[in-house]
Symmetry: C2
Subunit: 269 residues, 2 copies
């Protein structure tokens, strides 16, 4: 049987514009059923996280990347919403601070990687350092392949020291982004999420698509694969990511550590 993960794994020489952001591969055709399926998967992920935390043998890193409004926050809520914060940590990478900028760009990222027993979720990540920095030419052309090599070496080291890495690109269409931005503008309750800068960044849409495509191509490795998630439908986006994670984490053979016979003999007086 073909795994769910393999259906969404970025192919070699990926062309983003060839991938339909509307695609609903896992859909049951009933939105409320799909939402319930996602919730059930999220609860399974929470159970796995409990084993992960007890066993302290694995580390899981989930990286979420995508254009503005592509649904990174919503994914965290829907897919990881059932998880115990004891062993899961979401980290949002914003524009670097002065102290962060004074160090190499992987410095702040390395500090947030998961420990044994932890799931770390990166909302944006070191990939911004080959995306926005590239689109706005804050780095030179020569630095781009150099950074791809740094990132691959960094992720390889994490993988070889026990980290399982999942990278998700939330793929939306340009027209879907337009609708979502218009929604944010129309609804005062969404104004806190609106940043006038998003409209400026939207003008660079094509440059971003190229930068994403090349970054995904260059860093899509066996030890840190990229999944491309059609994300025009929020329900399908959540269902797809939850399905891939549930399927792949189930394969890790998580289990509670064996009981201790000496503890069993103890009598509480």
């Amino acid at each position: 049987m073909v795994s769910i993960a393999s259906k969404f794994l970025a192919k070699k020489n990926v062309v983003l514009s060839d991938i339909d952001a509307e695609e609903k591969l896992l859909s049951s055709k009933d939105k409320s059923v799909d939402k319930l399926r996602t919730l059930a998967l999220a609860e399974k992920l929470a159970a796995y996280q409990d084993l992960l935390y007890a066993q302290k043998k694995h580390k899981i890193l989930v990286i979420l990347q995508g254009m503005d409004t592509s649904g990174k926050d919503g994914t965290v809520r829907a897919v990881f919403g059932q998880i115990n914060p004891l062993g899961a940590r979401c980290y949002c990478f914003k524009a670097p601070t002065a102290i962060e900028s004074a160090h190499d760009y992987l410095w702040r990222v390395h500090q947030q990687v998961p420990a044994l027993g932890e799931i770390a979720i990166f909302n944006r990540s070191h990939y911004e350092d080959v995306l926005i920095t590239r689109v706005h030419q804050w780095i030179s052309a020569a630095e781009v392949p150099q950074r791809f090599a740094h990132i691959n070496a960094f992720e390889k080291m994490l993988a070889e020291t026990g980290t399982t890495i999942f990278k998700f690109f939330l793929h939306i269409s340009k027209s879907e982004q337009k609708e979502r931005l218009e929604e944010r503008i129309a609804d005062p309750n969404k104004h806190w999420k609106f940043d006038a800068n998003d409209l400026k960044e939207r003008e660079y849409w094509d440059d971003y698509q190229v930068a994403y495509q090349e970054a995904i191509e260059a860093t899509n490795t066996e030890y840190a694969p990229w999944f491309i998630i059609p994300a025009n439908s929020k329900t399908q986006r959540n269902l797809t990511i939850a399905s891939i994670l549930e399927e792949q984490i189930a394969l890790m053979g998580l289990a509670y550590p064996p009981g201790n016979p000496d503890i069993k003999k103890l009598v509480v007086k």
Copy 2:
């Protein structure tokens, strides 16, 4: 003219036992003169550090490695003793804590790398993770070359993002270590520096020499070179390290940033 640095740079296929730990290449034959020369160099380093801090264009990482009693603390005092702690930071890597061990072995190291304008001095470092861990077989044979590759990739990334790296191996002989340990045992004022474990580690002397030799060989790169410092004489050790650093940092072209003409026009009322 041959640079001082090139005389101490680790050669390809380095054989530690062929290098005389008693060697005094830079000696004036007068110990008190050599001590004064070292002090003058240390003062020059302090002046460079001031420029480095003002300019905020470079980062300098100095790594000190060597067998127990080889003089890492003494080097920090003699060579960096004149430096303003504002822009210089010494970090001693001890046995990892539980939280550190739960992460990859480069995690705690990356956190301590220098920012722009800083000099960071590592007293021991990530090299312990291919030395003591290897001698005691806490890591498998397959992990050793894997870690050499991680370390090279990590140091390359640091170098490509603006860090100048100097790695010093303080080379003492086995008989010199014996004398120094005996001194520590004989002098109650040195007991705080004595660890009974050092005697146990001394039994692995040959294994450590092999581990050092192979680590130096595998990680002696253009972007992060190893210098082998004959260190049986403390005076010569300090003079050599101070000379190499002074010579190499002088080549970096440090300077105060240009004055601001607008500031010059200001009148203080």
